[in-house]
Symmetry: C2
Subunit: 206 residues, 2 copies
């Protein structure tokens, strides 16, 4: 056992807890297992996080922060921004256990339902804002409201990454996210911008 | 405690287990709780299902059977068939605890991963077949293959119902599934069939 103080110890515990949650889910993972994986004593873990619930919230908070950071990738085209952001999040899902664990335990609902709902509301609100810009700029042309668009794109991505995990352990994640974008571009992007954005999808997911 | 024999007892246990799994998830639900909810002794439960894993598989099998029954709603239009099937599954998710529980524990992966993957493969294969018909009949006109279409529609629906559960306990399930169909119809349905199918979506989800 080693012991690093304060913020460093918190980070080590959050990473270790993510490995446990990602592998076993919230209900099965134990404080003892998390402490062991983090290489800290249970007493030390307890000083940072009094309960398993508190560790889980820290994993979800960190997942949210890393996911939203990927969302803010700059691109002059609103839909291009979303396409790049989804590639960033796909990369995080493939290589960042904190993001994977946060998404997994969020969707196991129950005790974490409130945080999960708040995460989805924030994520959807961010995507709604992008669609507002895209409609205002003429990039998107559709009967659907920005709220309906944000409220369908976020669940679409959620399902695509989840079923990719079930079917292939996310080995097919990039092509299935690319297919999602081809559907969305054909459904809502104005004809004048369609070919350009289909090329962006091809480039970003090549 | 009462005790009904054979198939009757199995059904009672599967329904009771579904209530427990739906509320608590696979890892948290217990054999003792399931027996209590079913009104049978643990010994009696054990004769039908030797392990919690075996009960979970029975719930998933029953969920699969009920879900696939909803998929075979007849309609001369292939996409019309899928739209009606998705309404049938949405109704099951709202009122049938076995379907809700089966979907929930399937997506908690881990111990049930193999059954879950097989369920998704079957479901996707069924939707791929419908898209083959729809392309052959000219109802669907797209660059995407039937495999890519099946492989994106099933995850889309999965994510939509899951996020609807997180956001509203599925209170908004019908409108969000309708939005999914509006996106899909605009994305892949041939122009000649688009207005008719948008009206089908409006009717089915009214």
């Amino acid at each position: 056992m080693h012991d690093v103080g304060g913020a460093g110890r918190r980070d080590v515990i959050v990473e270790a807890a993510a490995v446990e949650f990602d592998r076993d889910g919230y209900a099965t993972a134990s404080i003892a297992g998390i402490a062991r994986a983090a290489g800290v004593s249970q007493g030390s873990l307890h000083r940072s996080f009094p309960t398993k619930h508190a560790v889980a919230l820290a994993v979800i908070d960190e997942q949210n922060a890393r996911t939203f950071a990927a969302m803010s990738a700059g691109d002059p085209s609103p839909i291009g921004t979303l396409v790049r952001a989804s590639r960033g999040i796909a990369d995080l899902l493939m290589r960042d256990v904190v993001v994977r664990a946060g998404i997994r335990i969020s969707l196991e609902h129950g005790v974490l339902a409130q945080q999960t709902a708040s995460f989805y509301e924030q994520w959807i609100a961010g995507v709604v804002d992008v669609f507002r810009l895209a409609i205002a700029s003429g990039e998107v042309s559709t009967d659907l409201t920005p709220e309906a668009l944000g409220g369908t794109v976020v669940p679409y991505f959620t399902g695509v990454q989840l079923v990719s995990n079930v079917r292939s352990g996310r080995a097919d994640l990039l092509p299935v996210v690319a297919t999602m974008w081809r559907v969305l571009v054909h459904a809502v992007v104005d004809r004048a911008h369609r070919e350009r954005l289909l090329r962006v999808v091809d480039d970003v997911f090549a």
